[in-house]
Subunit: 145 residues, 2 copies
DNA sequence: CTGCATCCTCATGGATACTG
DNA sequence: CAGTATCCATGAGGATGCAG
């Protein structure tokens, strides 16, 4: 009933009553696109792999050694995913032993920029985030004291 | 431990025979920072919540209606996480019924920029990604007919 | 060297019911 | 209205073994 009168300041936002219809500021297709990319980039290893390949193509085990902690399975799966999305190319040299080179595609390279910006933000603000976490956790504990 | 791993890995690379590829290793603290932020931003709902709050503060159920598909549980959990990380502030008005307003903090607002850039990349390139996926999947299905 | 298959564990997240 | 608690399905991800 009282609803969001203060939200009217945004203008483009709702002026709802109890209709339940609220902000549609974000287009649905855009949201799913962002979510889609985020699902790829947000998993545990994709960004590491992309960043490792930013300096040039690498072979499977070079990549593996270059990304401490990744398992063989996960490296394979991550590379497949990136390849499927057109971000990484895979070049097989049918020799013995076989040689497979991975490299960023043009699309993959173009992804590096926004990801790097996010990375820079992370590096610049991780301190504040960790401080906030510590403060929050301390505040939670105080309820018990 | 990671340092030892890095040194061992670099040594291995140097003794690698025909690669001459210099693997530029990224600093461990930076990597974990990026990974850390990515874990927060990369989950299913955090970005949506942040983007919904980018236009101004919202109450719980406004947020809920503004983010189609999110469950009450997930909205609560996501907001707690964002609050803990200092990205979102929570203001309780002890009335009947209770009123809780969520808003981006300064830190949260600053995150909007890099995230928006990533979002723009997603919107601009989702077509290429989906095309690559279709092509990849088509190639996988081809069992020599 | 590259990479698939299998097994197993655990975190994520959805549905539902209940509380203040 | 805002939030918690519980149950449950799914899948991410690690360890290991095998194959081309």
């Amino acid at each position: 009933m009282e609803t969001a009168t203060r939200l009217a300041q945004e203008g483009t936002l709702l002026s709802d009553r109890d209709t339940g219809v609220t902000l549609e500021v974000h287009d649905a297709p855009q949201c799913s696109a962002v979510n889609d990319i985020l699902a790829r980039v947000g998993d545990k290893w994709s960004v590491r792999v992309v960043m490792a390949l930013a300096d040039g193509s690498l072979r499977f085990n070079q990549l593996r050694r270059g990304i401490p902690g990744i398992s063989q399975r996960m490296l394979t799966r991550t590379l497949r995913g990136l390849e499927r999305d057109g971000l990484v190319s895979r070049a097989v040299t049918p020799s013995v032993p076989p040689r497979v080179d991975y490299a960023l595609t043009r699309l993959g390279t173009s992804l590096c920029d926004p990801v790097a910006r996010l990375g820079n933000w992370a590096i610049a603000n991780i301190g504040q985030v960790e401080a906030a976490r510590a403060a929050f956790d301390a505040g939670q504990d105080q309820t018990k004291l």
